[in-house]
């Protein structure tokens, strides 16, 4: 989809509850990526001489804190979504256009009931091994 086509589409609205849901998913995904990174650092640890592991331990600790930070924020967004009335809504177009990570903007746009924003190149982009 061209940028011009994306601009000409009808404004995209979403309820606050849906916005919080979508945020919860994305924050949860970011947290999961931290957990993956944490496990990778753990594997690297085995290949590093014992005297040089301090830096990796520090890195693991930071990533672990970040994962906890994100999963807590995700839980907060989930809870708030459940408490927010469905009839409160807002336009998400401008906020979506502020997201410079194409894949993220696409996923969020689709989750709000819109189309992919045209930045993300094809459904095979990324590292998901879909069937």
């Amino acid at each position: 989809m061209s940028a011009a086509a994306a601009v000409s589409e009808a404004p995209l609205h979403a309820s606050m509850a849906t916005m919080l849901d979508v945020l919860a998913w994305e924050i949860e995904l970011a947290g999961a990526r931290c957990i993956y990174l944490d496990s990778m650092i753990g594997k690297m640890m085995k290949t590093v001489p014992e005297g040089q592991q301090d830096l990796l331990v520090e890195g693991m600790h930071t990533v672990d804190l970040l994962a906890q930070h994100l999963t807590s924020l995700s839980a907060f967004a989930r809870r708030m979504s459940a408490l927010t009335p469905e009839d409160v809504s807002a336009s998400v177009d401008i906020a979506l256009s502020d997201i410079t990570l194409g894949a993220l903007a696409d996923r969020m746009s689709v989750a709000f009931g819109g189309t992919e924003r045209g930045i993300y190149d094809g459904e095979d982009a990324g590292d998901l091994d879909l069937f």
Binding site: D21, A24, W25, E26, E28, L29, G31, A32, R33, I35, Y36, S39, T71, S74, A75, R78, S81, R107, V110, A111, G126, L128, D129, L130, F131
Partner: protein
């Protein structure tokens, strides 16, 4: 941390974020994850993979989770334990799912940690039946003064 020895899990969901989240979470927990974006893809995967657990979204595109389980039932295939997910799951959906092999349900949005925990619970072998309790000890009647036990 729960660590599974490469047991296979099929995840069927039309939402890329959910698929990616579950792939990372379950993969990190040691499972082998197979992803499908729609119902026909789940059925196609089932021809090649014998999963230990399936995580299916009730509103999966093209063929719902119920349609998939119904198809398996008609083929006479016994499905593996199924974790049903959905934004809204009506009591009748849950009831229908249980009749088709659903063992657990989760409302969306859920946390990745919860899913890993639920999957581990589904894979846990059932607790062995408790052994029959031994008959209660019967106290011998108090010996009367002068009586003798042989």
């Amino acid at each position: 941390m729960i660590y599974a020895q490469g047991q296979k899990i099929i995840v069927g969901d039309s939402d890329r974020t959910v698929l990616e989240l579950l792939q990372i979470r379950l993969d990190t927990a040691g499972y082998h994850v197979c992803l499908a974006r729609n119902g026909p893809a789940v059925l196609e995967l089932l021809k090649q993979v014998r999963p230990a657990v399936m995580i299916l979204d009730a509103g999966l595109a093209e063929l719902s989770a119920f349609d998939i389980l119904d198809t398996l039932k008609k083929r006479g295939e016994k499905p593996c334990p199924v974790l049903l997910t959905g934004r809204r799951l009506a009591p009748e959906d849950v009831k229908r799912g249980i009749g088709l092999g659903v063992r657990d349900c989760m409302l969306k949005p859920f946390s990745g940690a919860d899913v890993v925990e639920r999957v581990a619970r589904l894979l846990r072998p059932p607790a062995p039946p408790k052994p029959a309790s031994p008959p209660p000890m019967v106290k011998p009647p108090p010996a009367e003064f002068g009586s003798a036990y042989l």
